[in-house]
């Protein structure tokens, strides 16, 4: 295996277009683990850590642009992630453990596209867009179109994630990532990500995504629409949950059986919505 550290995008594109069997190395928290157990062994490992364009966060027109190489710790500590974007901060702080959060990156996490991981669901609920770059240039992918299947994204061959754009608005929204896992720091058995805003007693904005219950984060516009305009009464939350539950298709694995995951879905949604509603009533 060869290892390179391109320091410019041109140099990076040169490697990805000329080498067939390569992998891009972000934080390494997942890729190096996969290499250690022999699942992947690329001819060329391209480290992204010298590419300044992939680093840092900046706000432009009410949207925060998070560089792909931003670590989970940097996101957890970022106090500009407010309103709708606070959801992303909430999720980042719940990923694995400190030593992994110091290494792992948001770009790496979404490129891996594990539906049990925290960022796929959180970024779906946060209505993010993904900026990607390939040999034919840059494009932007809406988060609902980014995850395609288990460990599969809509990135075409040779494309890499450059940044994740998260709208700060609604500014009065609060975001929660509610995660149920058997062991602290593990992948979720089920997670519920939610951005919610209210005007008086009426829900003015809602976007829910459920993680770890299907091949991709589960989001239904119809479920959000039940909540928007409602008073977020128990019956309305139950109707929205029912729709999401019907569309779920969880697998059996060490973190829980399919039926157990289905048992959790409405309960966690209810808890997430009620918790957010309560918090909003105090602000």
């Amino acid at each position: 295996m060869n290892y390179v550290e391109p320091s410019s995008i041109t140099e990076l594109m040169n490697y990805v277009t000329t080498v067939e069997d390569y992998r891009c190395l972000a934080g390494g928290a997942t890729l190096v683990a996969m290499m250690n157990v022999g699942l992947v062994e690329p001819e060329l490992l391209i480290s992204l850590h010298k590419l300044d364009e992939l680093k840092g966060m900046r706000i432009d027109q009410n949207v925060i642009r998070i560089g792909a190489m931003t670590t989970h710790t940097a996101i957890t500590d970022e106090d500009r992630l407010t309103g709708n974007a606070s959801l992303v901060r909430s999720a980042a702080g719940q990923i694995a453990h400190s030593a992994v959060r110091n290494m792992g990156t948001i770009g790496g996490a979404i490129s891996h596209a594990d539906p049990s991981a925290d960022f796929p669901a959180a970024l779906t609920a946060a209505n993010a867009t993904i900026e990607v770059l390939g040999p034919s240039g840059r494009r932007v992918i809406q988060i609902d179109d980014f995850f395609v299947n288990y460990l599969e994204t809509s990135l075409t061959e040779k494309e890499i994630v450059m940044a994740i754009m998260v709208p700060l608005s609604p500014a009065d929204a609060i975001g929660h990532h509610l995660k149920f896992s058997r062991v602290d720091g593990d992948y979720a058995t089920v997670s519920v990500s939610l951005a919610l805003a209210m005007e008086g007693r009426i829900c003015s904005y809602a976007r829910i995504a459920v993680g770890s219950v299907a091949a991709v984060p589960l989001r239904l516009k119809e479920a959000d629409d039940i909540l928007i305009g409602s008073n977020l009464e128990e019956s309305e939350i139950a109707r929205a949950s029912e729709l999401l539950l019907k569309s779920s298709d969880p697998i059996d694995d060490v973190r829980g059986s399919s039926s157990y995951r289905k048992f959790l879905i409405p309960r966690l949604i209810r808890q997430a919505v009620l918790q957010s509603k309560k918090e909003l009533s105090y602000t």
């Binding site: 295996m1 060869n2 290892y3 190395l25 390494g28 928290a29 190096v32 683990a33 290499m35 250690n36 157990v37 490992l45 480290s47 850590h49 710790t73 694995a96 453990h97 400190s98 030593a99 992994v100 110091n102 290494m103 062991v183 602290d184 720091g185």
Partner: protein, 160 residues
Amino acid sequence: MSNKTDISVNVNGREYTRHVSPRVSLADFIRHDLGLTGTHVGCEHGVCGACVVKLDGKIVRSCLTLAVQTDGHAIETIEGLSESGEISDMQEIFHKRNALQCGYCTPGILLTAAELLEKTATPDREEIREFLSGNLCRCTGYEAIIDAVEETARERQDGK
């Protein structure tokens, strides 16, 4: 078949230049190339926490870090932290409270607990438990470990 490269790293305040294969993990590099065996290797996929070291001041899993990635960076291992005396109070309390049995997990736990106390001066037991949840102790001595971290935090506050 691998293309070895030269890397220069600062480990525990000393500069080292070594010729390494890109596939070598930081954990193996520290142990085999530098002979610093206080960093342990357990699961090799980032779950057990035995291999925790500090990279540029932050704890990381050295089994999930490649040595080549650390070229030009600063690493601190349990040996460095022990020699500097920075955590000698915590080491003393771990000893006193029997917070180690076989000792395999101890270096990783000390480094992790040290980061917790840097971030939070007086964590409660729940916070200690949560922060250390990525470090496995198969002797099952968790209660004593939490006691020891709690006492270290308390003594540091009292000593102020």
